[in-house]
């Protein structure tokens, strides 16, 4: 293990590099950009869950004063886009049919927002309503209306992954547990809704967009606009949160670009909150049937898992999310026999796709709920049961994940210990002053996560350029997308550490497809790990160059030089040196005018077989455990989470303060998923499409959070770091669910856990006893 105390920039609790810009209100998000001559666009959405488009007549809209252009599905030429070619099923604007309420049909550009909205009412669309299906059961029934003509029974992807011999495993087991679980549909709710601004400039389309991956977005735009990617430049300004919801191209991106071309004017399209809730991507709700075989002593033998996912009207990333569930099932706990069956099903609901956790949350809710029941019924301590089966370093999972570092056992022990302390204290303090005493419960859950993966491309690469400036400052050019998680800060810390300079010397230019090198985007918890390694490579390249210059001046061998606190010197002889700035300046002000730029890229060494879906999808795996303590009012069913302890194996925390921020933010999101959040649908219509009806936790809902970082120093990670942003969310809702189970003695198998569900469960329990 490296001596962390020797680091001067990494491992430190530094403020975000752009924190000052953000607290002063200077930070420019896409909506804060106003380009001269800018038009405002708006999107016409389908009022039907399923209908054939017979005709679109925009003539009345075009005649409306102030309207400049209208685009419709015809302008897409039917080009479908998406990550994987064989799963592409969606055009940027609907062509033949609309498949959900909110599906994009047309867009207008006008002089202002009022005019644009008025013009939408003047576009005459003739629909032929078709029968629609809103549940996976209805959708899979023989003879159900087909949502996509080429897909039978509306099942867009079926997976069957047998590993070992699951039936033999069950036969050998002492006990069999079987249950069904259900997770709900939740919304990402970034505070900044989706927004796009496009302008034509010098033969290029320039698009500013609230995106998690400008290079991905450029690829989809290039595909749908039928333009070479060099004709498109995507710039990511400040982004107000994404959580997976800003990974894919939106109709707004496409329409802004196309309307800008048509009008030769800049066009801005902002989704309002209602559109954000009812017509953008959301989490994939799953029905999970789980069967587990276990020995008397708690050793897991076999698991069978069947997942039915409501994919909504189009694939999005849904099929990959189902597949990701299989990996997750086999990564956290060990067992030799597994059968996974997954179905991604089309319905006439809005599209479900990527969201922080990518399928893992759903699976872990089911799996860790079942572990809890197993522990209770076998009479084994739930923590011990987990520790008995927990993943250990150096193992390979059934799905082929090669686990190098793994701190999951320590994470579980830590949350059990700390959570247990709280528990004891709480019990001492609790009195019976109510009519019925409040019920307290304690629950634990685990998670594992990738650090980037190669599911979508042949590579999972990121590249970086490190420019050394004459004044001794350093500018990092990275395509990695800071969407608020603080990646610019972490990447700058890595560069500053490598170059021996101060954090204040760093500047970061992040995410512009023309001026920064390639990166696939913020997803798969890949940025710290993949982009981190890329910027390290670039920093090392720059360091080599600057040391060569210094070596010449100092008449030393560059291999003998080091940089510390902006001072380049011979190791062991600090007086034989020069400033970092002097060396950079000397290089430039020499006869060859050398401008030092380091370049580097990183592509994780992984091997994934898309046919078997097995392999080592990631070059490192992170782990986490959380414990929750709750108080349940048996009279009202109300739940209060009293405290939450989180322990994460993040490899190495480059910025512990930012890492804690990820954990704390996850806890609030996980709390929402456990207790409050649920997109309510009526015949395909999102009923609660506002923050007043769809409640995310506010400050007063938050429990105290205690974070522990377990540092395992991964050999492949930048200074040992692994990904963390998504995993932190995964165990929160199962931990809370398990705590409620502990408190009331009945397990609630569907999310969110509402007071009504608790009261019903308690009533049933009373009836049984």
């Amino acid at each position: 293990m490296k001596d962390c105390a020797n680091y001067s920039v990494i491992g430190k609790r530094l403020p975000l590099i752009d924190a000052v810009t953000k607290v002063t209100g200077e930070a420019k998000f896409t909506g804060d950009l106003f380009v001269p001559g800018m038009l405002i666009g708006a999107i016409l959405r389908s009022p039907y869950p399923h209908a054939r488009i017979l005709n679109i007549d925009a003539s009345r809209a075009l005649k409306h004063a102030g309207v400049r252009a209208v685009v419709t599905g015809k302008d897409t030429a039917g080009v479908k886009y998406g990550a994987l070619e064989h799963l592409r099923d969606e055009a940027a604007l609907a062509t033949d049919k609309v498949r959900y309420i909110g599906d994009e049909v047309a867009a207008v550009a006008a002089v202002d927002e009022e005019t644009a909205r008025e013009a939408l009412d003047l576009i005459d669309v003739e629909y032929e309503p078709l029968p629609a299906v809103f549940t996976t059961e209805e959708a899979m029934r023989p003879g159900a209306p087909r949502i996509h003509d080429h897909v039978e029974n509306n099942v867009s992807l079926s997976l069957h992954i047998p590993l070992g011999d699951v039936e033999a495993g069950f036969a050998r087991s002492d006990f069999i547990f079987e249950d069904s679980f259900e997770t709900q549909c939740v919304a990402h709710c970034p505070l900044e809704p989706h927004i796009s601004l496009a302008a034509c400039d010098g033969g290029q389309i320039v698009l500013w967009s609230s995106t998690q991956g400008p290079f991905y977005l450029r690829r989809d735009l290039s595909l749908t606009l039928k333009l070479p990617s060099s004709k498109i430049r995507v710039i990511k300004p400040f982004v107000g949160g994404g959580f997976g919801g800003k990974r894919e191209m939106t109709a707004g991106d496409f329409c802004a670009a196309l309307l800008a071309v048509k009008t030769s004017r800049p066009v801005k399209i902002a989704y309002d909150r209602e559109e954000e809730f009812s017509a953008t991507r959301r989490r994939v709700p799953m029905k999970i049937y789980l069967k587990a075989g276990v020995m008397k002593d708690g050793t897991l033998v076999a698991k069978r898992c069947r997942v039915i996912a409501d994919g909504g009207a189009y694939n999005g990333r849904g099929p990959m999310i189902v597949a990701s569930g299989a990996s997750q099932m086999t990564l956290v706990y060990r067992f030799p026999h597994f059968l996974f069956e997954g179905h991604h099903v089309y319905t006439n609901n809005p599209v479900t796709s990527s969201m922080r956790g990518f399928g893992n949350n759903q699976i872990r809710f089911a799996d860790d709920s079942m572990m809890e029941r197993m522990a209770k019924e076998l009479g084994i301590d739930p923590v011990e049961l987990r520790l008995k089966n927990v993943r250990r370093p150096g193992e390979t999972s059934l799905m082929g994940a090669k686990v190098t570092t793994c701190g999951l056992p320590e994470c579980i022990e830590k949350v059990a210990e700390r959570g247990g302390l709280h528990k004891k204290r709480a019990q001492n303090g609790s009195g019976g002053n109510g009519r019925q005493a409040l019920l307290r419960g304690f629950g634990v859950a685990s998670a594992a996560y990738i650090s980037g993966c190669k599911l979508f491309f042949e590579h999972d690469s990121s590249a970086a350029i490190v420019k050394l400036e004459e004044d001794g400052s350093v500018c990092l050019l990275t395509g990695a997308s800071d969407i608020g998680q603080g990646s610019n800060t972490v990447l700058a810390q890595l560069v500053a550490e490598e170059l021996g300079i101060a954090f204040e010397d760093m500047r970061v230019v992040s995410a512009d497809t023309d001026t920064t090198p390639m990166d696939l985007g913020a997803y798969g918890s890949r940025t710290t790990f993949v982009a981190g390694n890329a910027v390290l490579a670039a920093a090392r390249d720059a360091k080599k160059q600057v040391l060569e210059v210094a070596a010449e001046r100092l008449e030393a061998d560059s291999a003998d030089l080091e940089i510390r606190e902006r001072w380049i010197c011979v190791k062991g002889s600090p007086q034989r040196g020069m400033t970092f700035q002097a060396a950079v300046s000397a290089a430039l002000n020499s006869p060859d005018g050398k401008s030092i730029m380091g370049r580097g890229y990183y592509n994780p060494p992984t091997d994934y077989d898309p046919r078997t879906r097995r392999g080592n999808v990631s070059a490192a795996y992170s782990f986490a455990a959380q414990s929750a303590e709750v108080e349940v009012n048996p009279e009202t069913g109300e739940v209060r989470v009293i405290n939450l302890v989180a322990a994460q194996d993040c490899g190495f925390a480059i910025n512990p303060m930012a890492t804690e921020g990820q954990i704390e933010g996850s806890v609030s999101m996980g709390l929402g998923q456990a207790l409050y959040e649920d997109l309510v649908m009526e015949e395909g219509q999102t009923v609660n499409a506002s923050f007043s009806a769809y409640k995310i936790p506010s400050v007063r809902d938050m429990p105290p959070v205690e974070s522990h970082l377990i540092q395992t120093i991964d050999p492949e990670g930048p200074h040992g770091a692994k990904g963390i942003g998504e995993m932190t969310l995964v165990p929160t809702s199962p931990a809370i669910a398990n705590a409620i189970y502990d408190a009331i003695g009945v397990q609630i198998k569907s999310l969110p856990i509402t007071p009504e569900k608790i009261l019903a469960a308690l009533k049933e329990k009373r009836a049984c006893s």
């Binding site: 609790r13 403020p15 975000l16 752009d18 924190a19 000052v20 810009t21 953000k22 607290v23 002063t24 209100g25 200077e26 930070a27 420019k28 998000f29 909506g31 804060d32 106003f34 990402h188 709710c189 970034p190 505070l191 900044e192 809704p193 400040f238 982004v239 107000g240 949160g241 959580f243 902002a270 309002d272 909150r273 969407i483 608020g484 998680q485 603080g486 303060m657 930012a658 804690e660 921020g661 954990i663 704390e664 933010g665 996850s666 806890v667 609030s668 999101m669 506002s690 923050f691 007043s692 995310i696 506010s698 400050v699 007063r700 938050m702 959070v705």
Partner: protein, 153 residues
């Protein structure tokens, strides 16, 4: 029909011609170029557009610009003086209370309204003061810490 009005924002007065259905948020952002107040929901639910009117927190998406006349309007742009951050801003920076930054201006102004009235609030009072400002990134933990810490100094 546009109406002429005078708005006092961050101590400066502005004469403007404004449609009466324009909200203060729209006028601040689109006519005065003060984009620190954000449009997160435009229905008064998220608090990203919070500004102070005569020291009290208001949702600028639910205030007609014509009705903001004659009041002292403070936006996030008016908080730091001569390039020096306000102590609440400084504390947000130091305590990691900022992630994406979209809710931050509103959060800070809600905190300012509280601390100006109640310089030594309890944690419960801080939470109450922030209850109208949603954040999806931070889980609020470091935001509350940052404000409690400001109140100590």
């Amino acid at each position: 029909m546009k109406q002429s009005l005078e708005l006092t924002v961050n101590g400066q007065s502005h004469e403007l011609l404004v449609d009466p259905h324009r909200t203060l948020l729209e006028v601040l952002r689109e006519q005065l170029g003060l984009t620190g107040a954000k449009e997160g929901c435009n229905l008064g639910d998220c608090g990203s557009c919070t500004v102070l009117l005569d020291g009290k927190p208001f949702l600028s998406c639910l205030v007609l610009a014509v009705e903001a006349q004659g009041r002292e309007i403070l936006t996030i742009e008016g908080l730091s003086q001569n390039g020096k951050l306000h102590p609440i801003q400084e504390s947000f920076v130091q305590h990691g209370a900022v992630q994406c930054g979209f809710c931050t201006p509103g959060m800070i102004l809600s905190a300012k309204a509280l601390l100006d009235r109640n310089p030594r609030p309890t944690e419960a009072e801080v939470k109450e003061a922030l209850s109208g400002n949603l954040c999806r990134c931070t889980g609020y933990v470091k935001i509350v810490e940052a404000i409690m810490e400001t109140a100590k100094t």
